[in-house]
Amino acid sequence: MTAVATARPAAGAATRAKGRKRRAVARDDRRSTLLSIVMWLAAAYFLLPLVWLLISATKTTGDLFSTFGYWFAPHFGLWDNIVRTFTYEDGAFGRWILNTILYAGAGSIGATILSTMAGYAFAKYEFPGGKAIFSVVLGSIMIPLTALAIPTYLLFSGAGLTDTPLAVIIPSLISPFGVYLMRVYAADSVPDSILEAARVDGAGEGRIFLQVALRQLGPGIVTVFLFALVATWNNYFLPLIMLNSSQFFPLTVGLAHWQATATNPSGGNTPLFDIVITGSVISVLPLVAAFLYLQRYWQSGLGTGAVKG
């Protein structure tokens, strides 16, 4: 994947952007101090809540109440908090992490494969019903969550699938936005001339897709994958209604469950602020890392998606 994407980092749109970047270098002397200050203040607004979360993860519940939020307590308790988070309720947190990785991994990889195949077909083939099917897929973005979740729950419950991992993974396989993004991206980045040339050479349509088209689609695939990953990793509504047993919870439902105990400590429960906060920090890290690591791919991929909007 990396090799493919490096060989062809971006489609036409991004190449044009590169031209602009070169031109922009000559204008660097025009930096505006006022605008820079405004933008740094904006960055502070977006980062300070997370900084607070990070600092708070180093405190005991007692220190949370007795010390100022934006500075460390005398006792640095990050390690103790991590240990407590992972050992609370017989290591439920570790299980939730594995569940989340399973649900998000299976869901987003599956959604990416399905979206890539369908998006490419919608973009590069004219076939009876193609346009009609695509507009139905696009229109489905507007369907409210509950309109689907309630009947899906009843259907799964009839099939005995509720409270199993499949109940969360199967509905995640559908990403209408992914199909849309892929169609736009494929239309731009896979030239018809290459496909025709391959056909003249006698390549079958399957081989053309696997050996010619997929190469061009690299950044688009990464983009679709990342957005599907965020959607499934952060999903709360679907697992909330589908799952009852704590052993199947993903991180989102698990943390919300602990939070409910943290705010209403009843019947011998102790407040759990320290482990909810530490658990929140841990659950955020993988996605932030994925976005930072893959940023050049998704930024060029999104570019094409947005142009044709």
């Binding site: 369908a118 259907l155 142009v307």
Partner: protein
């Protein structure tokens, strides 16, 4: 020449029939689409039809499911809880979406203008909240707002003012607007920024030759050029606003007396379905909500198209 009419009469049907090469491509296209389509039908079309079916029945203690026609819908459009939740989200839409998109557009233009120091870092900083699960974002802001150990109230106490109650009846709406804005400005900014990067250089050079300043270029050249991307963010924001669930649901745990079980339409439908166990009524609520979303999206699209034509 004389043969032409006869040929023309024969040809059209033959043309309509696909050549073998064309047919091979059709088959390939269907093979590529079918896996998606199967799951799409199973997970989207079937549940939706089933939901529509359910919404036409009522369940009674005696006699079970009973066909009720549009009774559920009539009840829904006269249900004050449902109407006020839809109205609240309409207001949310009018307040939050313009704020969020104006900020996203401003940030995107500022970063695109190359006049900001450290723009790579700032761009990531603004985008990072998108990677934070809404559950974590809401829990975190709930703590930040809170009186117990929230830094906001600590700050107000330190400078000698009373602690502001950010989770009261008067303030919860604003607090919710802030959370959702914090979460999604970055996502919209990236879409708009990506669109800005694709504006042809010639267009911007021409504006410069004409003597347009940075603000003028942004307003008269850049914003019109990325109109489709802006419309995309508007439509997605409308859909997202009406579907608000995670944030109010979690804040309900923090401030149960302020955010009721019918604060948003989705929250209400969820509670009707899974707490009151009335899936029939919940299905009709979800359907009406879907129709409202479609109408609003359609009206927005229509009015922007008209504005475009009038330019």
């Amino acid at each position: 020449m004389t043969a032409a009419p006869a040929l023309a009469a024969v040809r059209p049907p033959r043309r309509r029939r696909a050549t073998p090469a064309k047919r091979r491509q059709w088959i390939a296209a269907y093979v590529l689409i079918i896996p998606f389509l199967v799951v799409f039908i199973a997970m989207l079309v079937v549940p939706l039809v089933y939901s529509g079916w359910l919404s036409l029945f009522t369940s009674q203690l005696i006699g079970g499911q009973q066909f009720a026609g549009l009774t559920n819908y009539v009840n829904a459009v006269t249900d004050p809880k449902f109407l006020s939740s839809v109205g609240r989200m309409g207001l949310f839409l009018l307040v939050q979406v313009p704020i969020m998109l104006a900020l996203a557009l401003f940030f995107a233009l500022a970063l695109d203008s190359n006049r900001v120091r450290g723009k790579r870092f700032i761009r990531l900083a603004i985008f990072v909240p998108y990677a934070v699960p809404s559950v974590v974002a809401t829990l975190m802001w709930g703590y930040l707002y809170g009186k117990d150990f929230g830094p906001i109230s600590q700050f107000f106490q330190a400078i000698g003012l009373g602690t502001p109650d950010l989770l009261s009846n008067q303030t919860i709406f604003g607090s919710l607007v802030n959370i959702v804005t914090w979460e999604f400005v970055g996502y919209n900014m990236i879409i708009l920024y990506a669109a800005l990067r694709t504006i042809p250089a010639e267009l911007l050079d021409a504006a410069e030759v004409d003597g347009a300043g940075a603000w003028r270029t942004a307003w008269s050249v850049k914003i019109p050029a990325i109109r489709p991307a802006i419309l995309l963010t508007v439509i997605f924001s409308i859909i997202g606003s009406f579907q608000l669930f995670n944030e109010p649901n979690l804040l309900h745990g923090v401030a149960p007396n302020v955010i009721g079980t019918s604060y948003t339409p989705n929250l209400y439908a969820f509670n009707v379905a899974f707490v009151n166990q009335d899936v029939n009524y919940a299905a009709s609520l979800a359907f009406i909500l879907g129709i409202v979303i479609m109408i609003v999206s359609y009206v927005v699209q229509l009015s922007t198209n008209r504005a475009e034509r009038n330019r």
